[in-house]
């Protein structure tokens, strides 16, 4: 009966846990001290949100939240592939952080109206905290997009790499039909995706960054700046492009070797002594 709710909560938790873990990899290595502090704090927030979602799963299934977070096999995770990608360079880290947190903001806004009262309350709480993530991501995007050309170029390259993979965040959840019917997920994933793409294209255009994902029907031109007026036909613009197909499947448990590496690091401690308390 509540399998669909468990499926939804698990995917939400896995996105936050996996990306939170990636963010934590900047601890001690960020380009400057304030960003070391910022990414460590953002990581702590995301992992805290994951813990709260896993606790809700635990209330439904009786599972231990720690075991849900760290005691599963790689193929049991339901995070979008975008979240498991390595940090690469600073530009990619920022662009992914910006795209993900804007996608998460839309998702949380919808979930505040969830028919599950616990999820609705948690979404309200998390959304207030995530405000700071958006402030952080927006200010960095502006700063680099309006800065010297080298930074702009790196940012544009990172958009090219990360933007198509955001389709994975809006891939339908397992049993999505059921969760929409029950009102647990008030807005279906494809509707959220359309809104997300509209918002992000407007924002990217304002930043002077590429706004179009190379659609599978368009033979050439990887990116077309919308300000140039060269828009890809509207009926295809929201379809997942071919080069994004690698980014799909996370919601069904298809992952890349990137998650294997991350999982191995993330669960080392837990696997060496499951159930240990501190």
């Amino acid at each position: 009966m509540s399998d669909a709710l468990v499926s939804l909560l698990t995917a939400l938790a896995d996105d936050e846990l996996v990306l939170g873990h990636r963010h934590s990899e900047w601890t001690g290595f960020a380009p400057h001290l304030e960003e070391d502090v910022a990414f460590s704090s953002i990581a702590q927030d995301e992992i805290g949100h994951a813990a709260a979602y896993y606790s809700l799963v635990g209330q439904l299934t009786g599972d231990d939240p720690d075991a849900l977070a760290l005691g599963r096999e790689v193929l049991d995770y339901r995070n979008a592939i975008l979240c498991e990608r390595p940090n690469d360079d600073w530009a990619y880290t920022l662009v992914r952080h910006w795209l993900y947190d804007h996608a998460d903001a839309l998702r949380l806004e919808a979930l505040e109206g969830s028919a599950d009262p616990n999820l609705a309350a948690l979404a309200t709480k998390i959304r207030r905290e995530e405000r700071y993530h958006l402030i952080h991501a927006d200010s960095w995007m502006k700063r680099i997009a309006r800065g010297p050309v080298e930074g702009r170029t790196k940012l544009a390259d990172a958009v090219g790499k990360a933007f198509p993979e955001t389709f994975g965040l809006f891939e339908p959840f397992e049993q999505e039909e059921q969760m929409v019917k029950e009102g647990w997920l008030p807005v279906p994933s494809d509707e959220s995706r359309t809104r997300f793409l509209d918002e992000m294209r407007t924002a990217l255009d304002l930043l002077g960054l590429p706004t179009e994902i190379h659609a599978h029907t368009a033979a050439k031109a990887e990116f077309v700046a919308s300000s140039s007026g060269d828009l890809i036909s509207s009926e295809d613009k929201d379809a997942a492009p071919e080069d994004a197909s690698d980014a799909l499947g996370g919601r069904k448990g298809r992952h890349t070797s990137d998650l294997e590496q991350l999982w191995s690091d993330m669960t080392t401690q837990y696997r060496s002594n499951p159930g240990a308390t501190w």
Partner: protein, 183 residues
């Protein structure tokens, strides 16, 4: 929603003529007022507005805690400190501590006394009246320097050493300081 911002529980005066139930609850509030926030020991969980409600029935206490931040690593410590303090109250045999997000904890739950104590601790209290609107994207305009009281300050980082703190700098007395984030 029942608020206990100004709950300064006192020992019952004179002979207890009210029900025993009310007395126990006052004692529980008293005990909770001694439980410090592990990361900001100058304030108690009551000062921080983290206690939503309590109920005492036949020696069993039920306490509902609202976490300030979802990912607050101090939460397990707070739960166990609360359980210990309430468990030590005369007449309480059993304590259940529940963590809830209903309603979400917001920084306007910090009591007036709590705000004063935060300042004394060197931590600027959150600015603004009432909960910060979610639509207000942008940093809080003002953080008042807890050392010299100046409003001539600027934000250095929306993040700090704990999820609940942001870093500021006072242009007047030239001290770095932290603010408890409005949320």
């Amino acid at each position: 929603m029942v608020r206990h911002d100004n709950a300064v529980p006192v020992e019952p005066r004179g002979n207890v003529v009210t029900t025993r139930l009310a007395t126990s609850e006052e004692r529980v509030w008293s005990a909770l007022a001694t439980v410090p926030d592990p990361e900001i020991p100058a304030v108690s969980v009551v000062d921080m507005g983290m206690i939503r409600e309590i109920e005492v029935v036949d020696g069993s206490a039920w306490v509902v805690v609202l976490p300030t931040f979802t990912g607050c690593p101090a939460l397990p410590i707070i739960k166990s400190d609360v359980a210990k303090a309430v468990g030590a109250v005369e007449g309480i045999d059993e304590v259940e501590v529940e963590v809830s997000f209903v309603p979400p904890w917001t920084s306007d739950r910090i009591t007036t006394e709590g705000r004063t104590k935060l300042e004394g601790f060197g931590l600027a209290p959150p600015t603004g009246e009432g909960p910060v609107l979610i639509t207000e994207i942008g940093l809080p305009k003002i953080a008042i320097c807890p050392f010299c009281g100046s409003k001539n300050t600027h934000n250095e980082n929306p993040f700090g050493p704990t999820p609940c703190r942001a870093l500021y700098y006072c242009n007047e007395c030239r001290n770095p300081f932290e603010q408890f984030k409005p949320v």
